[in-house]
């Protein structure tokens, strides 16, 4: 189950995230997923409900980012690395996340974008 966390359609729903290695990166859409829950159900001898417990899973999120492009830089396009940390601003929960998957980089002219998957940093 997931729902868009904040998206107004013209771009102001995003934020500029300060990534630990890549620096300032525009996060265009931030779709926080509700933590998955693991249900532990113990039925009785007839299969009816006897005991149950629910445990919250790890929080994950997806993000579309615009990668910084500097024609004078080397390399000109800054790619996001696995394991980078980013702290969302308070408007977006204020939590710290780490990148665990980076999708393909798409390009139009001088503009580069990629989809990221992140998980909340717990300690």
């Amino acid at each position: 189950m997931s729902a868009p966390y904040y998206n107004e359609g013209v771009g102001q729903g995003g934020f500029i995230g300060s990534f630990s290695a890549s620096g300032n990166v525009v996060v265009e859409s931030w779709g926080k997923e509700i933590p998955s829950s693991h249900l532990i159900n113990q039925p009785d001898q007839f299969g009816g409900p006897l005991k149950a417990a629910g445990v919250a899973g790890f929080k994950t999120t997806s993000a579309l980012v615009q990668l910084p492009f500097d024609p004078t830089g080397n390399p000109p396009v800054t790619e996001i690395q696995l394991g980078e940390l980013v702290t969302a601003p308070d408007t977006h929960g204020g939590e710290t996340w780490f990148v665990f998957a980076v999708g393909e980089t798409f390009q139009v002219g001088d503009y580069f974008k990629a989809n990221l998957s992140l998980q909340k940093k717990y300690n």
Partner: protein
């Protein structure tokens, strides 16, 4: 520190303005509205026009400075008159009258030359060369400079919706760009080749983008004007032209991408 885009003073308004311009540009492309560059009417570029300009290596397609001849050729290829010749409208189908096309092309070039005041510019250049070994720089207010800026704007708007490609494309397919375009459109819309050939470039790109987005939801949405604004902010922060506090407090001119003077 991270900063929400909505906390950047003036950004929401600027993005709204950009969105309005983009919407208008996309509508104009569908309506096929002509515009005027250097006093000449210019159509929305079709696939056929694009291929012709590419064949003649028109520098304007790559946003490079053209010579006056290249600029005049660019305007002629995009003129409504050449389209009438291509379609052999009315009396233009008579072969015996084909010399009129050459005469019209020459006359068109002369009109462009007059509109751009090239005689004056060439005289200025000759004077400059006589006294300096440095390269002659086009004056900002010269009609030729202004017309080139208009043409760049026209090309930028045409390519607003070009579909995104992967950054690390291998180019192994060996397909001509025309084959890819025609193949994608005919697979989805079953259009005759002639219709694609005459399709306006922005309409073609919008359709290709729609096809791509329908088949691959992970393809990000690109809006070049909006992306440029956000790119500038990232660069401004990286180069330490301003801080996040400056962005929040409205001390940054987002269009010029620098701190305000006052």
């Amino acid at each position: 520190m991270s900063i929400a885009l909505r906390d950047i003073a003036g950004l929401t308004e600027l993005l709204e303005q950009t969105r309005e311009v983009e919407t208008e540009t996309r509508e104009d492309a569908w309506l096929g509205i002509t515009r005027v560059i250097a006093g000449q009417r210019v159509r929305v570029m079709t696939v056929q026009d694009y291929t012709a300009l590419l064949q003649f290596s028109s520098p304007l397609l790559n946003r490079r400075l053209p010579s006056p001849e290249q600029f005049s050729f660019f305007l002629w290829v995009l003129s409504p008159e050449i389209q009438r010749w291509n379609e052999k409208q009315g009396w233009r189908k008579w072969r015996a009258l084909s010399w009129i096309e050459k005469w019209q092309a020459k006359r068109h070039g002369q009109k462009v030359r007059r509109a751009l005041k090239l005689d004056e510019l060439e005289a200025q250049e000759a004077q400059w060369r006589a006294k300096s070994k440095l390269t002659f720089a086009l004056p900002d207010d010269a009609p030729f400079t202004l017309a080139i800026k208009e043409a760049f704007k026209y090309v930028d708007e045409l390519f607003l919706d070009r579909p995104p490609g992967l950054k690390k494309e291998t180019g192994k397919s060996g397909l001509c760009y025309l084959t890819s375009w025609v193949d994608m459109l005919q697979s989805e819309y079953h259009l005759p080749t002639a219709e694609i050939w005459e399709m306006n470039i922005p309409v073609l790109f919008a359709r290709l983008k729609a096809i791509q987005m329908r088949h691959n939801a992970k393809v990000p949405d690109f809006n070049v004007d909006r992306d440029k604004i956000l790119q500038n902010i990232m660069l401004g922060l990286k180069r330490k032209l301003y801080t996040e506090e400056d962005l929040k407090s409205g001390r940054v001119d987002l269009v010029a991408n620098r701190l305000r003077n006052n």
